[in-house]
């Protein structure tokens, strides 16, 4: 039972990171119907910028508590990623807004390749390790261990998601975003500038991705130019699981995917009599996704919408 609780906790931590990244996918998809393949790379850039800033500060011999250093790194990573998200949309997606959707998918892949290789040239092919500056607080109750970082990750993700929810539901920008998602042309008639809303959407998604990138690199104590690919893939899976285009769905899908994955890693061996080892945790995640989509073809919370031409 302890193992079970432990796996659930690990899954929640992983899942809240997935959810943060998934929100970026789902917001862009909701408005443009575009799979922003470069979003995982934005997460990676966020982690890398933060680590570079922390490394530079430590190199200068700045004597600040670890948490402050990470916060400074985060404060650099967020605007950097927002600028990146804005640029990506401007350069790669806006010229193709009226083109066939697959064309934009290909430019998204192209941007993703460019960002990956740029990061490789700038930060090298090695793993960049997260310096050991965060206090190693841990709570233990009844055989279950929770680290301070895990609590911070879940708390920060929840706070950000609540903030996003408030933004989308309560502010005029949020209303503009929802209107543009329903119909860009009608929204424009109501005095909304769809271009500006789309730019804002990309920047908000990128900011969330930056936070997720920093959290995930702190959690695994390393970052790598290739980390965005798998993280993006998982987050996109989470977004689809919840129903792509649906913000609550992305949160639910992210958390669910994280829990499924860590339970799969823990129990897939015993369940199959040792035939399948924990290497198969990704198989497990995709298998659940496929089963869910077979029974609910538009995801868990997605509405049944007909294909638009």
């Amino acid at each position: 039972m302890d193992i079970f609780t432990q796996q659930i906790i690990n899954g929640l931590v992983l899942g809240s990171i997935y959810a943060l990244v998934a929100l970026g996918y789902t917001m862009v998809y909701g408005i443009l119907e575009l799979i922003n393949f470069a979003h995982g790379e934005v997460t990676m850039i966020g982690a890398m910028v933060c680590l570079a800033v922390i490394g530079a500060l430590l190199g200068q011999g700045v004597d600040l508590p670890g948490v402050a250093l990470v916060l400074i790194g985060l404060a650099a990573a967020i605007p950097a990623c927002m600028a990146l998200g804005f640029t990506i949309e401007r350069v790669a997606y806006r010229p193709l807004r009226r083109a066939p959707r697959l064309a934009a998918l290909i430019t998204a892949i192209g941007v993703s390749i460019v960002l990956q290789n740029l990061a490789m040239i700038v930060w090298g092919k090695q793993y960049v390790s997260f310096p050991d500056i965060l206090p190693a607080a841990r709570l233990e109750f009844g055989g279950v261990t929770v680290t301070g970082l895990q609590i911070v990750i879940v708390a920060a993700s929840c706070a950000l998601m609540l903030g996003l929810w408030a933004l989308v539901q309560r502010t005029s920008l949020g209303r503009a975003m929802r209107a543009t998602a329903q119909s860009p042309d009608l929204a424009a008639l109501m005095g909304i500038n769809p271009d500006r809303v789309i730019s804002a959407t990309f920047m908000i998604g990128a900011a969330l991705a930056a936070v997720a990138g920093v959290l995930v690199s702190a959690y695994y104590t390393q970052a790598h130019y290739y980390m965005g690919f798998l993280l993006g893939l998982k987050a996109f899976t989470a977004a689809v699981l919840g129903g792509i285009g649906n913000i609550a769905g992305a949160m639910l899908g992210g958390v669910l995917l994280g829990v499924i994955e860590s339970l799969g890693a823990g129990y897939i061996g015993p369940l199959t009599g040792g035939f399948l080892g924990s290497h198969y945790q990704d198989v497990f995640a995709f298998f659940v996704l496929i089963v869910v989509l077979v029974f609910r073809p538009a995801g868990l919370l997605g509405e049944r919408v007909a294909e638009r031409a």
Binding site: I106, G110, V114, Q116, I121, D282, I290, P297, A306
Partner: protein
């Protein structure tokens, strides 16, 4: 210009002369390339042909039937592993090539239908993620099926695969024909060329067939297609199976040609690159797909010369060409797509859509959207 082209096409003799010239050029190509750029480039040529077959297979699924498949490389993997396991010392089986080739098409086709079945209800991007998931599942199984029973030899892959041979004629050795020395890579080129031509022929015939038109109808509007009496389930499954069987054939050829395969050759990135080939070349148009496949196979290889280019321009190497290569590749993808959103050689239907007034198109879409509310 177009009129002159059509007049020119009506002249049968000229057309035949053009075909003859093309055939001659294709026949002499490996020798010319080998003489100018070295034998390594003939090998790249062979790979380009493999990718043409692969891309034409995916073109059936994505280009004709409009089903976005991001796990297509799985069928390439199935074909390759089938060949590798049945013709290598791994199980000590050495089945002949002429048996393995159709078997590969059959098994991959069966896999295609099998994986297609649960996705029939899904549309657009949901389909994309499920096919992606299937592709990853197959790759993970290939990586891990070395225990408890060693089937695929795990991440090490399968070694010492039998080279392709028809009877006593092995494609891996040099042969002498009429006093001309034909190395193995050249022999493979001719084999792949023949099979590619066959695949092109099948693609062309499919395009104008009853099935091909049913695929296009489904792509354009599935509900309308169903109303016209098309059995969308069977026709979609057929698209998956057909596309997969092309992938299986080229996978088998890849295994025999390379002599070694490992799960890493079949990752998601490969699926994405094949998709890039068909979108970039011009989806649904056979000439465009061929162009895209050749271009995207040759481009990364040609970019290996970036180091020499830098030395010529700046006098020294500024950035490691190996690092710069994929960066330029990604930039090229973005640039080509922005400059030619419908692909380099768009299909006739696409071109017409693009010529129609954008505002009319938007209006149509808006009214369609209203109708669905």
């Amino acid at each position: 210009m177009i009129e002159r082209w059509q007049k020119w096409r009506q002249d049968r003799r000229l057309v035949w002369a053009a075909y003859l010239l093309l055939a001659l050029a294709l026949a002499l190509l490996p020798f010319a390339v080998g003489a100018v750029a070295g034998r390594g480039w003939v090998r790249i040529l062979d790979f380009a042909l493999l990718y043409v077959m692969l891309a034409l297979g995916l073109n059936i699924v994505v280009g004709y039937a409009g089903l976005l498949d991001l796990g297509y490389i799985a069928f390439y993997a199935v074909g390759a592993y089938l060949y590798a396991l049945l013709a290598s010392p791994h199980f000590d089986l050495h089945l002949p090539f002429w048996l393995l080739l159709p078997l590969g098409a059959l098994v991959a086709g069966a896999f295609g239908a099998l994986l297609g079945a649960p996705t029939l209800k899904l549309r657009g991007d949901y389909l994309a993620i499920v096919t992606l998931g299937f592709g990853e599942i197959i790759r993970i199984f290939l990586t891990n099926l070395n225990a408890p029973v060693n089937i695929t030899n795990g991440p090490q892959g399968v070694n010492l695969i039998d080279p392709i041979a028809i009877g006593p004629f092995s494609f891996s050795r040099s042969h002498t024909f009429l006093g001309v020395d034909v190395p193995g890579v050249h022999a493979y080129y001719y084999l792949f060329l023949a099979l590619t031509l066959l695949v092109i022929f099948v693609s062309i015939r499919l395009q104008d067939s009853r099935i091909g038109r049913a695929w296009v109808a489904i792509r354009e509007d599935e509900v309308a297609a169903e109303a016209m009496g098309i059995n969308t389930r069977n026709v979609k499954l057929l698209a998956f199976a057909m596309g997969a069987s092309f992938g299986g054939v080229s996978g088998g050829l890849f295994a025999g040609f390379q002599g070694f395969i490992s799960p890493e050759s079949f990752n998601l990135f490969e699926s994405i690159i094949v998709l890039c080939m068909i979108v970039l070349g011009g989806m649904g148009n056979i000439a465009g797909v061929i162009l895209g496949a050749i271009l995207l196979t040759i481009l990364p290889e040609a970019l290996r010369y970036l180091g020499e280019l830098q030395r010529a321009v700046f006098g020294r190497v500024l950035a490691d060409p190996a690092d710069l290569r994929m960066l330029v590749f990604g930039l090229a993808l973005v640039l080509i797509m922005i400059l030619r959103p419908a692909g380099l050689l768009p299909s006739e239907r696409r071109r017409r859509e693009f010529r129609s007034d954008a505002s009319v198109l938007a209006q149509e879409q808006a009214s369609l959207y209203d109708a669905q509310r």
